[in-house]
């Protein structure tokens, strides 16, 4: 393994080591505030009652599901074009996190769906496209697993991630393109949010908490992966000497 490969990552490890505790702390604080506001402060909905509180987990999780895939695609592009080794690492590390958020969005959505729509699941465009997003994550991770050579696997997975990125806009706009059961966007839309501030604030704080949680996990996974690679390189060097 060449020298420049480690020069950068070493600096990264140091930096990440410093950022990580802050991100972790921030996550805890934001989560505490967010949960307090969401579960206790925020009013119950006049239609939905207390089930509306699922929203404070469901919506940020759904946002993160899409955000993580975008992050994954951008990191893959950087890895493929500029061959930046950290981008490769970041892409690999973000996939399982994104998959978990997607799973969370699916599960909370289903739990919400049972009282709201009367079934756990409907095959409407948004729900289906999120399910497909989940499969894309799985495919991406499976490809990493299936190819033994780390560098090759990284490039192959990056190609897949870029091709799969077409799905993200489909999810985002599916509610507008097909008439579905699912709610259209009321927060992230062009002409400003259309939701009462008493619900908006906890929602935004929860979203921020999920975001910092993502950063914490990402840094941890990247450092772990770097260490694994170092150990492997050492072992290889040992074996050949």
């Amino acid at each position: 393994m060449s020298i420049h490969y480690f020069a950068n990552p070493t600096r990264f490890t140091r930096l990440a080591g410093r950022v990580q505790p802050w991100a972790a702390g921030l996550t805890v604080v934001l989560l505490l505030i967010g949960l307090y506001l969401a579960l206790i402060e925020a009013p119950a909905d006049y239609q939905q009652g207390d089930t509306v509180r699922i929203m404070f987990v469901h919506v940020p999780a759904a946002w993160m599901a899409m955000f993580c895939y975008s992050f994954l695609a951008v990191a893959s592009a950087i890895a493929l074009i500029w061959r930046h080794p950290l981008a490769d690492l970041a892409a690999k590390a973000s996939a399982p996190i994104g998959a978990s958020f997607t799973f969370l969005a699916l599960v909370t959505g289903s739990i919400w769906g049972k009282p709201m729509w009367g079934t756990w699941w409907v095959w409407d465009a948004r729900l289906t496209s999120v399910l497909i997003l989940f499969f894309l994550y799985l495919g991406y991770m499976a490809l990493w697993e299936a190819i033994e050579d780390g560098q090759k696997a990284g490039k192959a997975a990056a190609v897949l991630a870029l091709v799969g990125a077409v799905n993200v806009p489909i999810i985002k706009f599916s509610v507008d393109w097909w008439n579905t059961l699912h709610q259209p966007a009321s927060v992230m839309r062009m002409d400003g949010p259309a939701i009462h501030p008493s619900m908006l604030w906890p929602l935004l704080i929860m979203a921020l908490a999920f975001q910092t949680y993502f950063v914490t996990l990402l840094l941890a996974r990247m450092r772990m992966e770097l260490n694994l690679r170092r150990i492997r390189a050492l072992r290889l060097a040992e074996r050949t000497s």
Binding site: I132, F135, A142, A146
Partner: protein, 221 residues
């Protein structure tokens, strides 16, 4: 017997190592079932109506697609002839491979089927019947499929030929499986259908490994 178990444990190890085959056959099953609502449309009544058929067809296809794993890789890299030379009768070697195939495809399908049944809006009466038919029927899929897999060994990329040979043989399994579930869903007695299905599987246990072994022998010549 020691050799028999050694072959099974080897195949399981390879299945786990080579990209988590277990996990992936399952994924194909999930994906195919997901395609149908996309194609047919989301109406719950229609979905519930076609659910048993869709589930069984998808299971059939998933089992069939993973058939090429059964012998092909071992054939191409010379492992199959080495296995033949292990001293165990060839039909037992084949049986060991069929068992691994069921463990890595039939069993996961069986476990995933209830979840998909919920997604397709199948009613609760059908559940038990679905599980039972899968439990009885999927071993037959592995057994019958082995014959096709062995016959198409020397055909390069025999995948499609394989399906041509195997799918017609799978049809009885499909028919009994679906009719048992349909009967249960409509509150009728599913037992006669289940018995027929069981008869099929029991008949396949001695016959299929023997026929597949003959085909494997041929392909090594």
């Amino acid at each position: 017997m020691k050799i028999f178990l050694a072959i099974i444990s080897r195949d399981m190890l390879l299945a786990v190592r080579q990209g988590g085959a277990t996990f992936l056959a399952l994924i194909f099953f999930l994906l195919t079932v997901t395609l149908f609502p996309l194609g047919i449309g989301p109406e719950p009544a229609i979905l519930a109506r076609v659910a048993p058929g869709v589930l069984w067809v998808a299971a059939l296809l998933a089992a069939m697609l993973s058939l090429d794993r059964l012998f092909q890789a071992d054939f191409e890299d010379g492992s199959l002839e080495q296995l033949t030379l292990s001293g165990l009768p060839l039909s037992l070697i084949v049986l060991a491979k069929i068992i691994t195939h069921w463990l890595t495809t039939g069993l996961p399908l069986l476990l995933a089927a209830p979840v998909l049944a919920v997604l397709l809006n199948m009613n609760d009466e059908g559940f038990e019947a679905l599980l039972l038919t899968m439990l009885i029927g999927t071993p037959a899929l592995s057994l019958i499929g082995a014959i096709g897999a062995a016959l198409t060994l020397t055909v390069r990329r025999g995948g499609v030929l394989l399906s041509l040979l195997v799918l017609p043989l799978y049809i009885p399994v499909l028919i009994f499986g679906v009719s048992a579930i349909d009967a249960a869903v409509h509150g009728l007695n599913a037992k006669p259908h289940l018995l027929l299905l069981a008869a099929l599987t029991v008949a396949a246990i001695p016959l299929c490994p023997w026929a597949a072994a003959a085909a494997v022998k041929l392909s090594l010549e």
